[in-house]
């Protein structure tokens, strides 16, 4: 055996490919480790570049992508002996089968491990030199930890190479087909994607962790809640799920190897594929003299058409009949069907399979398969004659090369068309299975054949070109893959213009409301542009293609020079090149001259310059807006909006104001005029939208003036992204950020630490003003230039649309074929308005306050006519929220609640005064299973309606923690409304998601986590943690008591004037509602980041008479975490739930005991008595406290 291992090793070590693979992995990892731009390992924020966590991630991801390399190395050893006919010598020597196979395997495995070690070396050396790299701004590097590299090497590289190695070695040895060897890697990769897709559901995580063959899920499971501090210091260890996972797959590999062993034969033919190669036995036929008939040879156009059509069919058939094609396509369809199970789920709620949803799902996932098929089979087709050495015959045929290549090209297109049709029928099938019959075939066809197909055509053209030019099929494949990689790398370098990305066009979002919107026209221009280049390259490559026996590029070039002027090339080549340039110029004119093209970096640069130039005006006294009147003319078809408005500005300071600073942040604005009632002169103004006006007469304290503006926004030509979607042909949604604001706006500043260093801005330790900065109390965090304003507006739009803005409809009329709507508010509101216009169907209802018969509120849901699925649920949610909030907090301040659908270009819902724009994809196409699912539409509606109190009655000061009074309280209200509507069980499910999102959110924190009371507009804190905390608080304090406190708070501060209320004040109200014995929870919940570690170690039960004494052995810890997650244990002396379950007849566990017990650090056992047979018991069974390990809270009882 050793000679065979030695042979294999020395053979491999002489092969350049071995070093090429090693080098590829080395270089990639080197750059991952030493560059800022590429962060596959998750070294973001304060996670260090060479910390165990990012190293582990990088190794895992690279190992997964090395599947192809492992396949190339492990698949070939036995095949190679057959390819070079070495088997005839090999298998006649007295080498034992077992030695032969083991030797080959071990040798290849060692080589494989050597190649994969390039990952480790690259990471080590990359991190070692990071500070010397020219692009390094900030060195985020800790001390070198050897184990951080050794652990992933042992955990992932060794076992993955073994498992995959066995798999590929076995199939390579049995099938002995080159194609099988390089396709098997792809197939494994695809199957893996299918698996990964199931991870979306939280509940599947543990299962996935065990069965993920790469160990990725197991590792992610181990690290899912790790904080920055833990990512920097902890090693991923081979324990628990990861250990079981590794053992499982090594075991499977061994079983596969043993099972396959008997099938290996020392004979010429492989398994399966060999069967076909039955040798044809000859029968001696009698020789008879036959005259070879004369035929006429035809070369006219008709004949060429016949030949072309024949070739297209011939090549098409040859591809679709090949085993790898069937395997890849089949895997693809399998993936699609497996995806349908998780169709657009949010909090476990499925969406209605409307056509665009299905299309997103299918095309997004199937794209990879189509690209793989194009990549492989273009190579196969171009190289077909040469690979089979049939070219020696065909090249001497009087056949135009253009004809042959275009036929192959057309065959490839036919294959793509077939795949897209399969995709479409799969989609329709999925819709039908889900009971949805509005198929929108037109949308399918347009999206698949007008938007996606051209891209595949362009890709195919490029692949043909590359394979036509190169002299080696594998180099061709390599170049194509390099092309894909290159495009990705370019993206990470912030080059985004579609003019540079071969085959790219603006991405198209179809919306039921706005159809294909503004996208199709620019997409066609881009496709035309690339098509010109594609055809040029294709034709050029056909002229240069391999033909005859001289294949060197020089010889082919010489030949081309001799002939190119004779053919169509003479016309087509210059023509396509000219069209390419013209088309490109036209696009450039549209995207960069008519419109502004901006990279991410340029946009950040602009914000940085804005800050550098204007931050000095931060505290400059400005008048306040007290009244707003808007005349907005919308021209949806032209994507144009004219804002004319009047602000009343009042000087609330105690000295005169000389200059007014007007900010218009939107770069696309055209300012027709900005005038002041007393006259003003523009002192300065620039592209950053900051204009300073000197008033002719200073504005004296207490005095008011009016400011009039006339602004225009419109789409001229098209942009690199297509065009405006905020002003849409059907479904316009604008807000008052398009109107002037006053003074310097701090909110837009760059907040990411790395960005601030890169753009040379001073450090900004806070993302919101610190709570101690009392100057910040002068504003709400929603506006820096107004308190409560008077508001009215007149909207005009096309005759068939309804336009809506906050306020009550005063009047509507037709004028010059346009529809006008006048709205007015009868009470002051926050300076926060929305403008929507679409062809709506309106669903009306009325809510009467059960406690006050005089109070009636009109409910209106404006939705797309076909989107009626969730309207009733929304109406219900509105009523229930109005019920709950007006009974428990305060009166609803408006006479109306409106929900308005807007297209899915943006996916959120937002609460404006009495007006709630709501995303198409978020709440209008949900498929709610009332029994099991969380009704997302209900939840979001309740949350947004609650904002009419929390946000529109009380809005916190512009500093840390204020979102607690707005977002957390909206969450709390929604939770309570849902609990009353759907029951406690639903809430447990909902809170499970919230807890998971909070823990993951804190794990992904880039800067610092803050206690809830000081959170700086961090979603995972004020939404997700907020939900968990408020629900627990309600549990401790009691709903009535808690609501009483909230009621007092809101009554005190609603519609207040500055200084605005802050979170500590709010928390004081909560504290007062809390009994003294529990006051500590307020500190734990709001003032600290508190993390519990609650475990049930064992549960026993004893039956006495008719009762059971249940002993719950526990182990409880309580810790306080700092902003990066360093934990410090603190004394535990808390009231914690102890729960006992019994098993019902249906087999479910049902809670029979739930009481709070005082648990201290030294509490090791709690004993409770129940009178039903207990099944499970434990500490904090409903996960009310923040605990990262929830699976050990409850344990089965041993009687």
């Amino acid at each position: 055996m050793y000679p065979i291992i030695k042979f294999e090793l020395s053979y491999r070590l002489r092969r350049p490919a071995t070093y090429a693979y090693f080098f590829i992995l080395f270089i990639l990892c080197f750059f991952f480790a030493c560059s800022d731009g590429v962060t596959i390992g998750g070294a973001t924020g304060n996670v260090l570049k060479n910390a165990p966590f990012p190293i582990n991630q990088s190794v895992m991801i690279m190992t997964i992508f090395s599947t192809m390399i492992i396949s190339a190395v492990m698949g070939v050893p036995v095949y190679r002996d057959f390819e070079f006919n070495f088997h005839e010598i090999m298998f006649t020597t007295p080498v034992k089968k077992i030695n032969y196979l083991l030797g080959r395997f071990i040798g290849s495995y060692l080589v494989c491990v050597f190649i994969l070690s390039g990952i480790i070396w690259g990471l080590i050396i990359g991190a070692g030199v990071i500070e010397y790299m020219p692009w390094t701004n900030v060195v985020k590097k800790g001390p070198f930890m050897l184990m951080a590299y050794i652990n992933p090497f042992i955990n992932f590289i060794l076992p993955n190479a073994f498992f995959l190695g066995v798999l590929f070695f076995v199939s390579g040895s049995l099938f002995r087909s080159q194609l099988a060897i390089y396709v098997q890697g792809v197939i494994v990769f695809i199957l893996y994607l299918i698996m990964i897709n199931m991870q979306k559901d939280v509940d599947n995580n543990e299962l996935l962790a065990i069965f993920d063959p790469f160990g990725y899920a197991a590792s992610s499971y181990q690290t899912r809640y790790w904080t920055t501090a833990e990512k920097n210091t902890l090693l991923i260890t081979l324990t628990n799920l990861l250990l079981y996972n590794r053992l499982l797959w090594i075991g499977i590999a061994l079983i596969v190897a043993v099972a396959a062993y008997p099938f290996f034969k020392f004979s010429k033919t492989g398994l399966f594929l060999g069967k076909k190669k039955k040798n044809v036995s000859e029968e001696t036929a009698t020789v008879q003299s036959v005259i070879i008939p004369q035929v006429t040879l035809q070369y006219d156009f008709n004949a060429q058409i016949k030949q072309w059509v024949y070739l297209v069919v011939f090549e098409f058939k040859s591809v679709i009949r090949s085993v790898p094609f069937i395997a890849i396509a089949f895997a693809g369809i399998l993936l699609l069907l497996s995806l349908s199970a998780t169709l657009g789920r949010m909090y476990g709620t499925a969406t209605i399979p409307v056509t665009y949803n299905i299309l997103d799902l299918l095309t997004g996932n199937f794209m990879l398969f189509i690209i793989i098929i194009i990549t492989f089979y273009t190579g196969e087709l171009v190289w077909k004659e040469i690979s089979y050495r049939f070219s020696n015959i065909t090249d001497a045929l009087p056949l135009s090369r253009t004809l042959v290549m275009t036929a192959k090209f057309a065959a490839m297109l036919a294959i793509i068309v077939m795949l897209l049709l399969i995709l479409m029928f799969t989609g329709i099938l999925l819709q039908t299975i889900n009971g949805y019959y509005n198929y929108q075939v037109g949308v399918y066809l347009k999206q698949l054949f007008l938007v996606q197909f051209p891209y595949y055509v362009l890709l195919t053209l490029l692949c043909f070109c590359i394979h036509n030019l190169v002299n080696n099929k594998f180099i061709g494949h390599l170049l194509v893959i390099l092309f894909y990689v290159g495009q990705t790398v370019m993206l990470s370098l912030d080059v985004r213009h579609n003019l540079i990305y071969y085959g790219n066009a603006p991405s198209v979002t179809y919306s039921d409301m706005n159809g294909f919107g503004p996208f199709l026209k620019p997409v066609y221009f881009f496709y035309l542009y690339w098509a010109c280049l594609g055809v040029f390259l294709f034709m050029l490559s056909v002229l240069l293609m391999k033909h005859g026996s001289e294949l060197s590029l020089q010889a082919r070039y010489k030949r081309m020079k001799g002939v190119w002027q004779q053919g169509h090339g003479k016309i087509i080549l210059p023509l396509t090149l000219l069209a390419f340039i013209l088309c490109g110029s036209f696009i450039y004119y549209n995207t960069n001259v008519l419109n502004k093209y901006s990279t991410v970096k340029a946009a950040k640069q602009r914000i940085a310059s804005y800050e550098k130039k204007y931050r000095r005006y931060l505290d400059k006294p400005q008048p306040r807006i007290t009244s707003v009147e808007v005349n907005l003319d919308l021209f949806p078809e032209k994507s144009e909006a004219n804002f004319k408005g009047i602000y009343v500005l009042k000087n609330l300071h105690n000295k005169a104001i000389q200059t007014v600073d007007v900010l218009l942040a939107d770069e696309t604005v055209i300012i027709n005029s900005i005038t002041f009632s007393t006259g003003a002169k523009l002192l300065q103004g620039d592209k950053m939208g900051y204009y300073i006006y000197a008033l002719n007469n200073p504005l004296m304290p207490g005095d008011s003036i009016t400011m009039q503006f006339d602004l225009n926004y419109k789409q001229i030509g098209f942009t690199n992204d297509g065009g405006r979607t905020d002003i849409a042909a059907n479904g316009t949604f604008l807000n008052n950020s398009m109107m002037p604001s006053l003074g310097y706006n701090e909110g837009v500043e760059l907040s990411d630490e790395d960005d601030r260093i890169e753009y040379k801005l001073p450090k900004k330790p806070y993302r919101m003003r610190p709570i101690t900065d009392t100057a910040s109390y002068a504003n709400t965090y929603l506006a820096q230039d107004a308190d409560w304003v008077q508001y009215k507006c007149t909207l005009s739009t096309t005759a068939d649309q309804i336009a809506i803005s906050p306020g009550y409809l005063q009047n509507e009329w037709m004028q010059n074929g346009r529809k006008y709507y006048a709205y007015a508010m009868d009470a002051p509101i926050l300076n926060f308005f929305s403008y929507l216009s679409a062809r709506y169907s309106v669903n009306r209802d009325v809510w009467s306050n059960p406690k006050d018969a005089n109070q009636k509120v009109n409910i209106e849901i404006f939705s797309h006519p076909t989107h009626q699925w969730n309207v009733a649920g929304m109406k219900n949610a509105i009523k229930k929220t109005l019920d709950y909030a007006s009974a428990n907090f305060s009166n609803y301040q408006f006479r109306q609640v409106r929900i308005l659908e807007f297209p899915r270009y943006r996916n959120f819902a937002q609460s404006f005064p009495n007006t709630i724009p709501f995303g198409e994809g978020l709440g209008f196409i949900l498929d709610v299973d009332k029994e099991n699912d969380i009704d997302m539409a209900f939840y979001v509606t309740a949350h947004e309606v609650a904002h009419q109190w929390w946000g529109h009655q009380v809005a916190g000061a512009n500093c840390q923690g204020s979102t607690v009074m707005v977002e957390t309280m909206a969450q709390y209200t929604a939770l309570m409304v849902m609990e009353h509507e759907f029951g406690t069980a639903h809430m447990e499910k909902f809170l499970k998601y919230e807890m998971d999102d909070y823990l993951r959110g804190r794990s992904a924190e880039r800067q610092k986590e803050l206690p809830l009371m000081l959170c700086e507009n961090q979603g995972y804190i004020h939404y997700n943690k907020g939900s968990c905390i408020m629900y627990a608080l309600k549990d401790y304090v009691g709903e009535t008591k808690l609501n009483k406190a909230l009621q007092q708070f809101i009554k005190t501060y609603q519609f207040q004037n500055p200084p605005y209320v802050t979170a500590p004040v709010f928390v004081d109200y909560l504290k007062q509602a809390t009994p003294d014995s529990l006051k500590y929870i307020i500190t734990d919940m709001f003032e600290n980041i508190t993390v519990f570690n609650l475990r049930t170690t064992a549960v026993t039960a004893l039956k006495t008479n008719n009762t059971y004494r249940v002993n719950v052995n526990i182990d409880a810890l309580k810790a306080v975490a700092d902003s990066v997650g360093n934990e410090q244990n603190i004394k535990l002396n808390d009231w914690v739930d102890i729960g006992v379950y019994t098993q019902t007849k249906s087999g479910n566990d049902s809670l029979i005991y739930l009481q709070k017990h005082l648990v201290a650090n030294n509490t090791k056992q709690v004993t409770v008595t129940v009178n039903q047979l207990p099944s499970k018991a434990g500490i904090d069974p409903l996960h009310k406290l923040i605990d990262r390990q929830t699976s050990d809270n409850v344990k089965k009882i041993t009687l």
Partner: protein, 290 residues
């Protein structure tokens, strides 16, 4: 029909000077191209078959400039390359149809007749529906022959066609060729002297890219009349003879070594024999007559 090759030269990028000023005139009939491996036979054949270009020189098929009107030449060309492969998952029938169609036989009735006739002629009719992947070397070679005959070519180039054929097949094929060659040019490249002697009315011997001899085989043989002498001897003597005489060939014959030497004079111990084409071949290759 006349094929006129003038001063054809070719050097490959790796420096091999494959063709050196080759000039040949080839008329209707079977033309044998003899030469050892690496002599430049295949290079010459491929150049005539339009698969590669020459550095200098010209080839004319009657008035047709072969090097500049490749497609026109291909229309009248039948070519059996020395080495070729087939698509393994296609049957002989299908692939013959494939080639025929691409060669311009677009009329399907005609193509059916032609393909069937060729299959019968090459004795492949019974296995016509079998996949080519299972064909033996000889069967594949016959398929190659069949495809070279498609479309009544005026010039047929067959490069080492009898390799891998059993004697029966070989005879059958050579007969077929000589029958066809009455009307057309057939260039047969081979290193088997017998093939040429039996069939060819014209021949050339090339070595190291140069034409060593061109003409009628009988003329060549006549040129050696009285200059070839033979002796049966043992190994030791043969070695001695090699030092003293110009050896044409040595080979085992019924346990002894048969030595042919070149000499214009009678040589003691040797008996003069009638020269064969093989003697011509070796004499030319080894430049003995010079």
């Amino acid at each position: 029909m006349q094929l006129e090759i003038n001063n054809l030269s070719k050097t490959y990028p790796n420096g091999v000077h494959a063709l050196k000023n080759i000039s040949l005139t080839i008329n209707n009939g079977l033309f044998g191209l003899l030469g050892p491996n690496g002599a430049g036979k295949s290079s010459l054949m491929r150049t005539v078959a339009t698969l590669q270009d020459a550095d200098s020189g010209s080839i004319f098929l009657d008035d047709l400039n072969v090097l500049e009107n490749k497609d026109a030449v291909r229309k009248t060309l039948g070519y059996l390359p020395q080495e070729f492969g087939v698509y393994p998952n296609v049957s002989a029938l299908e692939l013959l149809h494939h080639v025929a169609l691409l060669k311009g036989v677009t009329n399907s009735r005609q193509r059916n007749e032609l393909v069937n006739a060729l299959l019968v002629q090459t004795n492949l009719f019974d296995v016509r529906k079998k996949k080519l992947g299972g064909f033996s070397g000889g069967m594949k070679q016959r398929f190659g022959i069949a495809q070279a005959l498609i479309g009544s070519p005026q010039i047929i180039i067959v490069d080492e066609p009898t390799a891998g054929l059993d004697p029966t097949e070989r005879n059958r094929f050579l007969n077929l060729l000589s029958e066809i060659s009455e009307q057309v040019i057939v260039i047969l490249s081979t290193h088997i002297v017998d093939d040429v002697r039996e069939l060819c009315s014209q021949m050339a011997i090339i070595n190291k890219g140069e034409v060593m001899f061109a003409g009628h085989p009988e003329v060549a043989i006549a040129g050696l009349r009285g200059k070839v002498h033979t002796m049966f001897t043992d190994k030791e003597t043969a070695r001695q003879i090699a030092k003293e005489h110009q050896i044409i060939s040595t080979k085992f014959n019924t346990g002894k070594i048969e030595v042919h030497i070149y000499s214009t004079q009678p040589v003691p111990g040797f008996s003069p024999i009638n020269a064969g084409l093989e003697d011509v071949y070796f004499t030319v290759i080894n430049k003995l007559s010079a």
